[in-house]
């Protein structure tokens, strides 16, 4: 089980590094961004406006937020796995059968 977890973590880190290397999560030059935002008659049709964080503060913030999201997900998954084990054990012991269920809810 632990080996599986380690493999999953390595795969996740590899995916993250791939995404970081291939992403466009770079700060656009504010001056260029401003110029691009003004529609121009002479602009080439194939020019595209890239999307992403505006400055280093936002970039750092968004990466921290993503890290926090994944940490929360892993913690929640850990607790959910414990709950699954518990509910499966209760189900196998017949805890959810009608009679016992009623007693539980009344309590």
């Amino acid at each position: 089980m632990r080996v599986k977890g380690v493999i999953l973590c390595i795969l996740f880190l590899l995916l993250c590094s791939f995404l970081i290397s291939s992403s466009n999560i770079t700060m656009p030059d504010p001056q260029t961004a401003k110029m691009e935002s003004i529609p121009s008659q002479e602009s080439e049709t194939d020019i595209i406006i890239s999307s992403g964080p505006k400055d280093i503060k936002e970039k750092t913030g968004i990466l921290f937020f993503l890290g926090w999201v994944w940490l929360s997900i892993f913690v929640l998954i850990y607790f959910l796995r414990q709950k699954i084990k518990e509910t499966d054990r209760l189900y196998q012991s017949g805890y959810y059968s009608d009679g016992k269920d009623k007693i539980c809810l009344e309590e």
Binding site: L15, C16, L19, I20, S22, S23, N24, I25, A33, S37, P39, S40, S43, T45, D46, I47, I48, I49, S50, S51, G52, P53, K54, I62, L66, V69, W70, I73, L76, I77, L80, R81, K83, I84, T87, D88, Y91, Y96, D98, D101, L105
Partner: protein, 352 residues
């Protein structure tokens, strides 16, 4: 703590609902994994709704302001680019899951009597999802979206008699204009959501009425499989998948946000390399490979008829494959794999 519970219990009957959910069981077998795709679709639908509500506060569906308002969402609205990216990626995730869900049902033949209408409502939901994607693609109003919409709305024109009318209906006129944008916006945020909700309610009702399908072997032998309570055992398992999918969606949305092209010019020629969204690529390639004329028909007309034929076969599958369970062969399963292979080849071909 007891008082609030009693207040809610008196009004909503929570005990009865929980008892119903606990008594509802999900069959456990080697194909159970496919059951999770249904709820994952619902998750992405909800994400789309929430992010759509956020985007609608800033988006302006007019010829002059559509592109600029999307640019404003990306540059000026706090984390607007993330919301737009999540909205766009969750659409792709949802359509991918709808396709996976339907293909699993096709391969496992879970559409057999009495679940024909469950399948048909599911296929309708796929069509609605695709139309959501098609209408949403135009809303940024950039060069690429305008050209792709011109090509897409021109396809029905090849259908005899009603074709021209269908194109005019979609465009709100002879050409793609500001009226098309308003019309597509109306479809995207009002008409399609209503359709989707009604179909979803009907689909869920049918699943509830007929129960979740079991593998054909078990249904044939009338043997009862071991079940897992929907609440809490199954929901906890589903929650793990939901959490993981939310993480993946957010990661991809942050690292690969969609770009925006410059404001569309109605007079400008179509840019090179027009490509629709990935889920339309196989249709796009299919239209390209048909010759200009075959006998008395134009290639476009035949291609459209071919696509409509495929869609009809897909929709009426339960009525075509309606043999009793014990007489079912492998032909339908093989046809599902052939269809998947065909779609994959066409998609890769269009990208080359």
């Amino acid at each position: 703590m007891k008082k609030p519970y009693e207040w809610f219990e008196e009004r909503f009957g929570i005990t009865a609902i929980m008892s119903f959910l606990t008594n509802k069981t999900i069959p456990q077998h080697k194909h159970t994994v496919w059951y999770y795709t249904g709820s994952a679709i619902l998750l992405f639908f909800v994400i789309q709704m929430i992010t759509g509500f956020m985007l609608i506060f800033y988006y302006k569906p007019t010829l002059e302001l559509a592109n600029a308002s999307v640019l404003r969402i990306m540059n000026d609205v706090p984390l607007g680019w993330v919301i737009r990216s999540v909205h766009s990626w969750s659409a792709s995730f949802m359509i991918a899951l709808v396709i996976i869900h339907l293909m699993s049902i096709w391969i496992l033949k879970s559409y057999t009597r009495p679940r024909e209408l469950t399948w048909m409502s599911g296929v309708f939901l796929l069509f609605v999802s695709l139309f959501f994607g098609f209408t949403g693609y135009l809303l940024p109003w950039d060069d690429l979206s305008l050209s792709a919409t011109k090509v897409g709305t021109d396809i029905p024109r090849s259908i005899p008699i009603i074709g021209k009318w269908a194109t005019i209906f979609l465009r709100g006129g002879e050409d793609v204009t500001g009226d098309t944008l308003t019309r597509f916006f109306g479809f995207h945020v009002c008409i399609l959501p209503v359709f989707a909700f009604l179909l979803l309610a009907f689909h869920v009702y049918l699943i509830q009425k007929h129960g979740i399908s079991e593998p054909l072997k078990q249904e044939n032998q009338k043997t009862k499989l071991k079940g897992l309570p929907f609440w809490p055992n199954f929901i906890f398992r589903e929650s793990i998948i939901w959490l993981f999918l939310i993480g993946v969606l957010l990661t991809i949305a942050i690292f690969l946000p969609p770009h925006l092209g410059h404001q569309a010019d109605l007079m400008a020629p179509a840019p090179e390399g027009i490509k629709p969204e990935w889920y339309f690529l196989f249709l796009f390639q299919l239209l390209k490979i048909f010759p200009a004329k075959i006998l008395f028909f134009t290639g476009d007309t035949l291609a459209v008829f071919f696509i409509m034929g495929l869609a009809a076969l897909f929709f009426f599958l339960p009525l075509i494959d309606n043999k009793p369970l014990e007489q079912k062969g492998k032909a339908v399963t093989v046809s599902a794999y052939v269809f998947l292979l065909f779609v994959a080849i066409m998609t890769v071909w269009s990208l080359l």
